[in-house]
């Protein structure tokens, strides 16, 4: 069995719940962004900038960014532990899986800091 050492919360149940809660946040935010494009089909810079300068939207965007990072991390963990297995990679499975998870963690960390910089930087 692959260990749960790199599972976000070391508990399958909390991962399961957080995956669903973050999904709800991501889904609602996605609908809002689509909504903006439907209301303003020919959106200009001023309107676009004003949307993201609104403090409520800033908080919503940062919460969504965090939700995306957590959701992505749990998703990657699920995929990696299901497919990068000893059955396919024998003794090297753990090393390969840890390497992929480290790469994924790095990518997600970059997204998190970069995203916060975009949303709250200016």
């Amino acid at each position: 069995m692959v260990g749960s050492a790199m599972n976000l919360l070391r508990s399958g149940l909390s991962s399961w719940l957080i995956q669903r809660l973050s999904a709800l946040v991501l889904g609602i935010y996605t609908l809002c962004i689509f909504g903006i494009f439907i209301v303003h089909p020919e959106i200009d810079y001023g309107t676009w900038k004003a949307v993201f300068d609104n403090n409520l939207m800033r908080v919503f965007s940062v919460v969504t960014l965090v939700a995306a990072c957590v959701h992505g991390w749990i998703g990657l963990w699920t995929v990696f532990t299901d497919y990068l297995t000893p059955r396919l990679f024998a003794a090297r499975a753990t090393a390969i899986r840890k390497a992929f998870q480290t790469g994924g963690a790095f990518l997600i960390a970059v997204y998190l800091f970069w995203g916060i910089q975009i949303l709250w930087g200016s």
Partner: protein, 124 residues
């Protein structure tokens, strides 16, 4: 649990019902979205940076390659969103029967196809 039980690794002999295909596609689109997220963040950064950055995004989005790339990411997003909704409904106990799973998977395919087509029309 014994771990020396026989395992069938010949994938061509395994049947993949629609529910299995929509499930693996949910995973694949999820992984693609994690990569595409960087692309979306880059566009967001450019578009918010300055008026010229916003115009640059508009110009980028009028190019064929970027249009196709954007459509691909949005297609994954639409599929992942709809398959995710089905997942949440099933967590609530809706459509958990064998038949329900088949209908649910069929609906995911139909709704996604329609959504992806509309997104394509909207991008072009």
């Amino acid at each position: 649990m014994k771990d020396n039980r026989p395992v069938n690794l010949d994938i061509s002999t395994i049947k993949f019902p629609l529910a299995a295909i929509t499930s693996i596609t949910h995973r694949i689109t999820g992984v693609i979205l994690l990569i595409g997220f960087g692309f979306l963040l880059y566009l967001l950064q450019l578009s918010l940076e300055s008026e010229s950055g916003f115009v640059l995004v508009q110009e980028l989005l009028s190019g064929l390659i970027v249009k196709l790339l954007t459509w691909a990411v949005i297609a994954c997003l639409i599929y992942h969103f709809i398959a995710g909704c089905k997942h949440l409904l099933m967590d609530l106990g809706i459509g958990e029967t064998n038949e329900g799973a088949q209908i649910g998977s069929g609906l995911v395919v139909v709704f996604s196809a329609v959504g992806i087509l509309i997104a394509g029309v909207w991008i072009w």
